[in-house]
Symmetry: C2
Subunit: 459 residues, 2 copies
């Protein structure tokens, strides 16, 4: 590998200059005014990968285009699918940025720009790694297909249909994604679990119009009173979701997971300070990390009823509503949970009111393999690059595409993140440490070599 | 009285024509664009009363003017204070009116216009009654002071200070107000009780910013979850307010009240149908009328937290809030109740959250005398005019000025309403039956005669 590492190091300045160009394009997928920038960014990326030796195309999806880059070395080599995204979250100085979000600058060894870590910077680790292999040896150790979409930050609305229409192109032995993070700076991690989601809206209707609370107060069920009484019973004082059957399918945490996470020395007091709360709170019997990563929740995401302007309006509201969602963990099915929640809500409804429940969104939880050649190779690559063994962690959020790939391609998915949890993805002053970019590139370069298995043997 | 009744009948057409003019002026006090109309209406009214023989003035209040009309006949006669208002609620065709709200028309014996019953039409009964006395006999049987304000529908912001500044002018032996209603068409009523109000806003804050419900769900108290849990405990399943001490000062309903109201044959099923609910609901052990008129309540008037737009946003909100208010009954003090509610709310707050409670509005409940010369005279006057004895009722809402008069003037207040509950005050197609206007005028004319007591004897 020394030849490849040497090329990686020699390429640093040029790669960084290109990353600055890449980050300068405001490819904000959610803002129609930036549609042309998104398109320009796709073409910039395709040209860059073409120059490196990939067969590239900018694919129309119905929304913003996806960039596909492909290099097939040999039928006998395994094929890797890299998924990433070149679009970014909105950003403007008024949000509190200290530097222009689309004028990247390096300060104290960190590159500051929207997309620095999510996901342009992490994506660049893969580009640098592939380039080093190609420069040093004229070829890749595996076949590599890159699918880099332009709508991740605006809902990936066209991704599923694009994948469905391109199953042959995308079929791979494994999928690798670098859109997560290290556990903390200097502590590399592989993410093997993501929570799912079951998101509902509940609306309660009482009288056929808003009533005067003086004239009618005491005569009818108040839908806002009823809503609070119903929702207030869904989570008990110990933080446990109080819905019959809710925990029935939960795959319990294994002892090794609890041990490994406990050894991370998570600073709960520091988190409480950072969030500005006197104390954290959650299901009794689990640590904060366990609760955030591997236990299901029920959170109210929105409440609305009656009058919420300034001052007093004596209305007895005709309607009250809430958005609520459960984060789900492995074993739980979003549709089944939605049915349980709906049954519980309706069961708690008193007479004199009607209720409507709408299912807004669902995502299956994901538990990826924690062993096998791809995971083992990723561990080894990270350990060599960082000088420290990675930890196996989960994440509390959902990345729907992971479930899509795991399900549709039936291939192992490796979530190898190089950024840090405090890199401020989606926030002002997003950044990525240059050392993380370089170590990430090295890790990918080593990973490609390690997974180049032919006939059960490393090449 | 025959001479006076004859004059009343002869004056009908002219009075009705004047009422149409009065109703044609869009004196909408809440809408700045109508400020000149409000002013014009005050002057119209002052001129009309001057022509009838009153000493009138349009008094500046800091807001819309008040009309004061005065006729002192003799030091030996009792002095009555009539309170009413010439301003009206907003109204436009787009709200669902069948006829132009400020182009009064008589259809099927009812005059349709904004203000028809609230309060221009009811006020006109007094004008017609006084005029009949003056035409028939050249004088009134009592001294009469009218205070007709122009801000009742926009909060009476300047009324208290105007009263304070004019205590001598307004001092009276009794106050009469016609801004309530009959119990139902054909069943006259005197209203002797009004509920009070204690209106609060509660805000709960958790983390210092909205969090991603995936990354942080399970780590912290969700303020929306906590708000529902807290508010959901404030009223029990039997409709009783679950706040320690809440009922301690409540003056219980007397048996005569319960008997008299039961005899009214209130149609609870009809009310449920009209409100579009399957069943009514309220505190166990009380009839619907008792609950609406004479039992305290706790209603949530507004809820707000997190995301309430279309679709799903996975936010764990930093804040959640509610507006809530209690209707209070005789014996209960708004400040004391606010203190009890606040203590209960704070007592239910779990660790990890902070709470702010703001007191937005309070009004004392009112229980007026149900006997004495003024009430007895009102009963007799109504019975003669309607051919049916009035019932003694209460109302669920608050009319703050009643408490102000009862308190500041120390005089009995008679609430004698001539409209009907279904006259659609504040709604589209507001109306008043002409027969109610004429019977109301007759009742007032008789009332003036009946209360003209000198040296303990009717004149």
């Amino acid at each position: 590998m020394n030849d490849i590492i040497k090329h990686l190091e020699e390429d640093r300045d040029r790669a960084l200059a290109q990353l600055v160009e890449f980050l300068s394009i405001p490819s904000i997928s959610a803002e129609p005014a930036h549609a042309e920038d998104v398109n320009r960014c796709a073409h910039y990326l395709a040209e860059l990968l073409k120059a490196d030796g990939f067969q590239t195309s900018v694919e129309q999806t119905g929304g913003h285009p996806a960039v596909v880059a492909k290099r097939i070395e040999s039928d006998t080599l395994p094929t890797l699918l890299l998924y990433g995204h070149y679009d970014v979250q909105p950003a403007k100085m008024a949000d509190g940025w200290k530097t222009e979000p689309f004028a990247p600058v390096v300060i104290d060894g960190k590159i500051h720009a929207r997309g620095a870590t999510d996901d342009k910077g992490q994506l660049f680790c893969h580009i640098m790694a592939a380039r080093a292999h190609l420069k040093a040896r004229g070829k890749l150790p595996v076949n590599l297909v890159m699918l880099i979409e332009g709508e991740e930050e605006s809902g990936s609305d066209n991704l599923d249909s694009f994948i469905d229409a391109n199953m042959e192109l995308l079929s791979a032995d494994a999928v690798i994604i670098s859109d997560t993070a290290q556990y903390g700076g200097g502590q590399p991690a592989l993410t093997y679990g993501l929570r799912g989601l079951c998101y509902l809206e509940v609306g309660i209707t009482g009288p056929n119009r808003d009533l005067h609370s003086g004239s009618f107060g005491g005569a009818v069920q108040n839908p806002a009173n009823a809503l609070t009484k119903i929702l207030g019973q869904l989570v008990d004082d110990s933080g446990r979701v109080n819905i019959p059957g809710f925990y029935a399918d939960v795959i319990p945490l294994e002892q090794w997971e609890r041990d490994e996470w406990a050894a991370l020395g998570h600073d709960a007091e520091g988190l409480a300070r950072e969030l500005g709360v006197e104390t954290l709170f959650g299901e009794t019997g689990y640590t904060t990390l366990e609760r955030m990563w591997a236990r299901p929740t029920l959170d109210i995401n929105g409440l609305y009823s009656g009058y919420s302007g300034k001052g007093a309006k004596t209305v007895l509201p005709a309607k009250a509503g809430a958005k609520l969602s459960c984060r789900l963990v492995s074993g739980q099915d979003p549709d089944k949970i939605a049915t349980l929640i709906e049954a519980r809500l309706k069961n708690l409804l008193p007479p004199g009111l009607t209720m409507e429940v709408v299912r807004l969104h669902g995502a299956k939880p994901v538990l990826l393999p924690t062993d096998g050649i791809y995971v083992e190779s990723a561990k080894e690559a990270l350990e060599t690059a960082w000088g420290k063994a990675p930890v196996m962690i989960r994440e509390g959020g959902s990345i729907p595409v992971v479930e899509t790939f795991a399900n549709k391609l039936g291939a192992p998915v490796v979530l190898m993140g190089f950024g840090r949890p405090d890199d401020r993805a989606h926030g002002p002053d997003e950044k990525m440490h240059l050392e993380d970019i370089f170590m990430g590139a090295e890790a990918v370069a080593r990973f490609l070599e390690l997974v180049a298995i032919v006939d059960g043997k490393r090449k």
